[in-house]
Symmetry: C2
Subunit: 83 residues, 2 copies
């Protein structure tokens, strides 16, 4: 079957890594008067349109691309879903 | 109930808006030899830890924060889920 798929990739800083952007957003929210908001983590979201026919092969390719170019595995985690 | 919740927010450029970052990532993927990848859209992912007790109130606050500070509604769309 040759239906169009889409990969939705989320890349976040690892928990142990400083997240200054998240800290800044958290401070901004507090100063804007939002109560009840705790820690904020800021990451990237990447959507890739896929033409491949084989979900298994596509999944492999996306994982490969995430590890090699889309994320920095030293400081970031990634996860994705294909739909 | 006072369990801890988390808001997962995805902010993406509107379809009609140029996405040079997405285009650049797409070109990089093509040059790295990944076939079958189509258009790429790059956005932001924000995770907010929540202490509030009332999911309905929290949802309202997150929506408000998304519209007012986390996204630029002129050029970006946002969506979120709370879990």
């Amino acid at each position: 079957m040759h239906r169009s798929m889409k990969a939705k990739i989320v890349i976040t800083p690892k928990k142990a890594v400083l997240d200054p952007q998240g800290k800044t957003v958290q401070n901004a929210l507090i100063h804007m008067g939002y109560a009840g908001f705790g820690a904020v983590h800021v990451g990237k979201y990447i959507e890739v349109e896929l033409a491949g026919a084989d979900p298994q092969a596509v999944r492999q390719q996306i994982d490969d691309a995430c590890r090699k170019i889309l994320s920095n595995p030293v400081i970031e985690d990634y996860r994705f879903e294909i739909e």
